[in-house]
């Protein structure tokens, strides 16, 4: 167990590291200046790419070898995709997918 001062220093160290990653792009490319074309391009293509990364990141601990072989995750994601293509309602797709997933892991 750390002392109170040490714990506060640790919190500040974690916060400082995090804020460097959040602020650096905005400090490197201030809004008063036009950013390089490459950066504007990356700003356009990174959102879909990062959304793909986040989806896969959430599934990183899913094992294909061990039961349930990622089946609940796959079925839930398929359900979300179908619901979303059909109704295009964000909350319905998310809620429906989560219910499918919870039913699968609790009942199976």
């Amino acid at each position: 167990m750390l002392t109170a001062t040490q714990a506060i220093i640790m919190i500040l160290a974690v916060a400082f590291g995090t804020m460097i990653t959040r602020f650096t792009p905005f400090l490197l490319f201030p809004e008063t200046k036009e950013p390089p074309k490459m950066i504007t391009y990356l700003g356009n293509v990174l959102p879909p790419a990062m959304m793909g990364l986040l989806v896969m990141y959430c599934l990183k601990n899913v094992s294909i070898i061990e039961t349930p072989h990622g089946v609940p995750d796959l079925i839930a994601i398929a359900g979300i995709t179908i619901l979303h293509k059909w109704k295009s309602n964000v909350l319905l797709s998310i809620g429906g997918g989560t219910i499918i997933y919870m039913l699968l892991i609790h009942l199976c």
């Binding site: 640790m10 995090t18 790419a49 990062m50 989560t98």
Partner: protein, 244 residues
Amino acid sequence: MASKTRKKEFSRAFRAAFPHTIPVLTGFLVLGMAYGILMQTKGYGALWAMLMSAIAFCGSMQFVAITLLTVAFNPLQAFLLSIMVNARHLFYGISMLDKYKGLGKVRVFLIYTLCDETFSIASSVAPPEDINRKYFFFFISLLDYLYWQAGTLLGSLLGSFITFDTTGLDFVLTALFVVLFLEQMKKKENYAAGVIGILGTLLSRVLFGADNLVIPAMIIILVILIAGRKQLDRTIESKEEQVC
């Protein structure tokens, strides 16, 4: 009079922003509570959990930091680890340079609280035309931030009383990312980048394992996006030409 219209604009922006954050409300309450409970079991009560959530506000890194708080005091390690775990935020910033342009002082708060979930929503959703853009983004960020604080507080205070099984409820955040991914895919020019994001991360997961996948995945994605710029950028430009 002026303050009255401002108030009206404020509440209209709130009503436009709130529905987008409901999945985050669910996910952050569950995960924030898990965080509060874990901190409690390691001897850090509500005050400490709240301090970390309020000042650092960095989800997964807060869970990593629980371990760091129970071993030898090493702030430099915590600092460096926090940069590595959170490196993906660098790409969020690059993506939001344009959207967060010209928003005045509130911009500092938006950048400070730019977590995965807020980025996903703010980058995928455009504020309705009749809604003040600044207030809209402000409420998305503020609400997500407050949900995390509320979850942390509830977890540290009530953790031991909670008996119902919430296993699997945190899937709501996976579902959020899946839906926002699908929203991005509605634009044809986003197809290639989305597939690159999925396959690049999958490759990184296979090569580097579940615990070290983010930074290699970011590098793989970045290299492919830069190498493929001619193809990917052209689709965007030719779209604009068609419009003209």
